[in-house]
Amino acid sequence: MSINDKPFLSVRDLKVHFPTDDGLVKSVNGLSFDLEKGKTLGIVGESGSGKSVTSLSIMGLHRAGGKRGAPQISGEIWLDGEDLVAAGPDRVRKLRGQKMAMIFQDPLTAMHPYYTVGAQIVEGYRAHHPGVSKREARKRAIEMLDRVGIPQPDKRVDNYPHEFSGGMRQRAMIAMALVNDPSLLIADEPTTALDVTVQAQILDLIRDLQKEFGSAVIIITHDLGVVAELADDILVMYGGKPVERGPAATLFESPEHPYTWGLLGSMPRLDRELQDRLTPVKGTPPSLINVPSGCAFHPRCPYAELTGGRSTTEVPVLAEAAPQHHAACHLPIAERHRIFADEIAPRL
């Protein structure tokens, strides 16, 4: 296969396992997806479903070496024709910040408290543009701050992170991530720490910037509203595995997996009629050490019996349910559609 045939970002059977005292934590256990330039992928899933671990794996930010905390990573991560899992740490480091960049959830802790915002942006720029002078880099930093909508960027560039408000910090983080025009931007819960009104500003900003730079974007969140705003494609994760993947519109319109139904049913929505009761997913998220046998969702799945026992024994694979729309569920497609139409859709 030639390089050009490959998608810009292609993750193949990614497994990230952490050895701990209590056992092997299978944080990501067989994840595959593709992402093209200019497209946005939304990854949703509950806390602990392996979203952050996935993004850190792509960035190569898991700690290598040593005994504790270093995960066992297997599978392939192809970025622009290069396998990041196979590449050496030095190579990945060169790509990091330049070709791929990341925005973190909590901008306050993600910035060094002792250095000015400007200095931290300049540093990222100069790391990949060794020839650039400090003054030029500073100019670039001011330009980036301006670009992300920070007023008076020439003054603010010399502020420390704690002197910024939450929204401004997240903007500064974005400026820092975009300073080298990365072609892949990963945003791990970029707005969770922010207020709705500020969140709206930031989401707008990300969308505009993506249009402008044409980069590929992965947005990670547990808020279905946020992905609906931004994503072209959506990947739903449960217990370290993808359970459903598809274009945003279809996924929201006709979700295939009972877990996705659960997610949609459990959130009150402003855009719908008021329901009397929410429909929660019963039970609690699974242990990643002792992942339930078969379908990891089966202990919480109201339809597990309908699989004729397969759900407890057989691990479902992601199978195409509709064009470009895949789900990992033992329920026959027809059955799924029936249940959705009869029981779920009316309540949503």
């Binding site: 509950e46 806390s47 408000s165 939450g166 929204g167 401004m168 207020d195 709705v196 009104t197 500020v198 969140q199 709206a200 500003q201 989401l203 707008d204 547990h222 808020d223 279905l224 509203g225 946020v226 992905v227 609906a228 705003e229 994503a231 945003a248 519109a249 929201f252 319109e253 659960g262 997610l263 949609l264 049913g265 459990s266 959130m267 009150p268 929505r269 402003l270 855009d271 008021l274 329901q275 009397d276 009761r277 929410l278 429909t279 929660p280 997913v281 019963k282 609690t284 998220p285 109201p302 029981e343």
Partner: protein
Amino acid sequence: MTDSQTAAPQTATVPAPAPASDREPLLRVTGLTRHFPVTKGLFKRQVGAVRAVDGIDFSVNAGETLGVVGESGCGKSTMGRLVTRLDEPTGGKIEFEGADITHLGVGAMRPYRRDIQMIFQDPYSSLNPRHTIGTIVGAPFRLQKVATEHGVKKAVQDLLELCGLSPEHYNRYPHEFSGGQRQRIGIARALALKPKMIIADEPVSALDVSIQAQVVNLLDDLQQELGLTYLIIAHDLSVVRHVSDRVAVMYLGKVVEIAERDSLYASPMHPYTNALMSAVPVPDPRRKERRERILLTGDVPSPLNPPSGCRFRTRCWKAQDICASQEPPLTAAKAGHQVACHFPENSATE
């Protein structure tokens, strides 16, 4: 499909919010103020004050749920702490069942504590990690010296069951439970003394989406069953819509709008409420292009030095000179809908 999660019986209908007028308010708050002094220097000279809550009025009727929304730092939690008397108000008055409880001391307040209970935001920090569930849920009985028919243990186990937990959990420690279960424990504790009113500060915001719904349903069911009155603080407008009968919107220590739920969500009058609503991301990709969003500029100003006049004017697209000089009072714009704005939207006069 029935929800097997909760033991409480289900009701098929949405309880229609009764008109506020014909009920006696259980809780009435007038001019409530809390300023946190900012001190400086050797002699702790006061150089200013964080006006966290700056004169708010509202009342909650028996059996209803008042939802309070607002952005981070607008004073929601402070308000909640004042009402539960965990904090001392700087000014104003809090009346519970007609009695003034504004400045009662620990001892004098104790009897009222039975009637006013609280559910906390963080299911991790609100349970003492060194106490067993039995101790935690049984604490109200011991502290209030309430005699129980079959002993505290039995009472606690009943409560656990009521909240969808197993009585066997009696001797377990909080760290052995998931977030949702812990929040249930917190709720069981709040219910122990059969309170009349429960104040919940962000009761579900620390929970995962799939768990959040379980807790919201539980709160609903308990209200039905026990006839509770809720004051629920949250920043998630959708959750608030789901649980509340009436909703108050706060901005920088002030209530800017307070209305019946449907009226508020259908036709918000304060520009800020409008902006808030439009900012909520909607989980529907088809709607994203069609929605017109009101994007606010800038951040919430500092409560240390709030803007003059209308506090929202610095971010308001409708602001005029009068907004800077005159503070708009909270007035009833229509039945069951009060707003504090010089130029309210969706109003008859517009």
